[in-house]
Symmetry: C2
Subunit: 430 residues, 2 copies
């Protein structure tokens, strides 16, 4: 029988946990009315109990050990806000589901790594495992895929899934500043963490993409994925992109082409006039191509306590309403093992940039390597340095196999006329 009250243990009281605690206190009445069930936080736990927080928590709510929440009989739902794929978060979520507690988590790393295993336990024990907050907080994409867009056979999901890197790329463009200057600025404003490695190297996007991909394609999570971050993008690339009518965006893309799945995260040149090029700052956007619906776009704030709380509360509400659902939209028994292909086999038009000593014959040596690899050149721009000792060669190719493009880079980067590591930025979303 459906309960009229669910008891929640909230584990992790950083910015997000504290905001959620306050939100649930202030909005208990309206949530109870909408979901016909009262959400009651009866326990909390955090690494540092004595840290200054903006909330008042009754002393007897504090658990002695966070793992007690998984054993105590009066706990129905555990909200995990510890973070990280291993350690405490992993222990908590596995134990919670094993002991038939519903779980709500914002932990993308954990779900991307152990989502398949966790999902099987949740299904066996008929409890919910909800992770809307793990993917683009303020964008209700998980629930839309599981419910609003449930009718659709999805062939592609892509978008901007990381606010920090998008903030950096759009501000390098807008303010004509260097990567490091904008990063410094982003840290100061709280748009980048003190250690933003996983935001910048593409790993954060990769976790989100793996989760979305498995939801969209009814498949198990697959770790075959090409990941590049934005670390090597410099102002000159941004300027070149502008001159050519593009913006540079860090995209995550999962797509099915001829029954093969490609998962990839990399900086991409996007036409200035396209929708995705207009997504600036810390915004996130997810685009889904499905049949029969066509193209669907959802856009919102990607992170921060506010947007994440919106997602967490939507998960908690779903549990309050008493809907036990498959965590990945379909039973684990029905999820498929698809054929995942390497990006090397996909074709792209691409931007390649070579910094060279400006000597006679260099250009023809470079174009010769393109020709030997059967990659045809659509456009070539040579910019001599002021000193005229160095030159920058930018080449836009026609559609070519990715492996040929990479091979060209590898062949040319060893040449004595090269002064800097050459660059490859893929173009477009098609």
């Amino acid at each position: 029988m459906k309960k009229n009250k669910l008891n929640i243990a909230l584990i992790g009281l950083g910015n997000i946990g504290s905001y959620l605690y306050k939100y649930l206190q202030e909005n208990k009445k309206i949530l109870s009315k909408k979901n016909n069930c009262i959400p009651e936080i009866i326990y909390v736990s955090a690494k540092n109990k004595n840290k200054k927080r903006n909330i008042k928590i009754n002393k007897n709510k504090w658990l002695k050990n966070y793992l007690d929440s998984t054993i105590l009989k009066n706990v129905d739902v555990i909200v995990e806000l510890i973070g990280g794929a291993e350690g405490a978060a992993k222990k908590l979520v596995f134990n919670a589901l094993k002991n038939k507690k519903h779980v709500v988590t914002a932990n993308k790393a954990l779900i991307a790594k152990y989502g398949d295993q966790l999902s099987k336990i949740a299904e066996k024990n008929k409890v919910n495992l909800e992770f809307e907050a793990a993917v683009c907080g303020g964008v209700p994409i998980i629930r839309s895929l599981k419910e609003g867009l449930i009718a659709n056979k999805i062939s592609r999901v892509y978008g901007i899934f990381n606010g920090t890197s998008n903030y950096i790329l759009s501000n390098m463009d807008k303010d004509r500043k260097s990567f490091n200057d904008v990063l410094f600025d982003a840290k100061r404003k709280g748009y980048a963490e003190s250690n933003p490695i996983s935001d910048l190297n593409g790993d954060d996007v990769a976790s989100k993409l793996k989760i979305l991909s498995s939801l969209c394609f009814n498949s198990f999570i697959n770790h075959k994925i090409h990941v590049e971050g934005i670390n090597s993008i410099d102002s000159f690339d941004i300027d070149n992109a502008n001159k050519l009518g593009y913006k540079i965006k860090l995209l995550g893309v999962a797509e099915i082409i001829n029954n093969k799945v490609y998962q990839r995260v990399h900086p991409t040149l996007i036409k200035q006039s396209s929708y995705i090029a207009s997504i600036d700052g810390v915004l996130n956007a997810v685009i889904v191509d499905g049949k029969p619906v066509g193209e669907n776009v959802i856009q919102g704030e990607g992170a921060g306590p506010e947007a994440t709380t919106s997602a967490l509360v939507s998960d908690i509400s779903s549990i309050l309403r008493g809907n036990v659902k498959f965590p990945f939209s379909i039973s684990s028994k029905e999820r498929k093992s698809l054929n995942y292909s390497n990006i090397a086999e996909r074709t792209f038009s691409a931007y390649l940039r070579f910094e060279v000593f400006d000597r006679p014959g260099v250009l023809s040596k470079i174009t010769n390597i393109f020709s030997k690899n059967k990659v045809s050149i659509k456009r070539l721009i040579q910019n001599p340095n002021k000193s005229k000792k160095f030159s920058s060669i930018v080449i836009i190719t026609h559609n070519s196999k990715d492996k040929s493009l990479v091979k060209i880079i590898k062949q040319i980067e060893k040449k004595p006329y090269i002064t800097k590591k050459p660059k490859l930025i893929r173009i477009g979303t098609n």
Copy 2:
């Protein structure tokens, strides 16, 4: 106990009904797996049984009378695709809910007019009344408001809710064609119905806005709404907008300002650089401002059998999963009667256009009327006609009460120097 099969009667077999029928036949297996329940169409009905359709329907599925679906014990769900706020559709849906059948409908006119009454019957009888397909088909906004964004206190919902009028406005702009030429073209391509009155006069948007507004604000449906269509927009307005850095869009806006609700549908000048200005053609976009989530955007195809089927199937799936929910997100007992204000009291910056005989003194007479009404002018452009007998005066005002703007129009339109009905187009979304 949750059934493992639900029997559906599909009433109405036009383009959408036929597409849905085919879709459900082809996707029964995957939907059954995702929702743990089989959707089975056991009856159909349509005005013209013998019309040529692209589907094969077993003879014994045809009902003698469509209303039998509301009585037959083996029917669980009725999908109403008749359309119209009165007559057959109204009879069907009221009877269905009274007889404890779940209802799925794409009928915006019916829900905008009778949604409150219908909702009370559905709640009393513990059945679902679902209408995702009634508002912007391919945009899963209803489910997002009820579930993905459930945490949020919404202060404004607005957007482009009518594909036909948006197609006309964007093509008048893109192709520099007249309203009538583009309308003719839209009819030929199937983007406008043979009788597109409610698409062009704003009524279609008004129905959708009333539904969204009541969902966003937890209030009853309210019919205090200002409605203008696009019929009076001409190429010269589009050109002026472009020169001034704007696009003209038909917006629906529901907003709470100082505890008063304003509902309005009218052509609006939107900054070219804004997101909403980029929504062209038959696309729809809904923007929600809420706390804590911030701004949220959902964009997709607005109409057509494909997008509408995506919405209908999401509603059917919700019923298959066995979630009986409040049709308007919250119990009728808890829905509020808010304070609705007239647009006359709201302030706008606005574009006013006067076509006049080009005589000395006319300009000063016009500006004098502005000044008497305490409306200050931000910008004034006077374009003499080639013959120099006529002149066009475009005025952009500072923020002013809407009633003052309307008063100015009314005072000036009677003057002997006026050659055409003057125009008022409000600016911006703030």
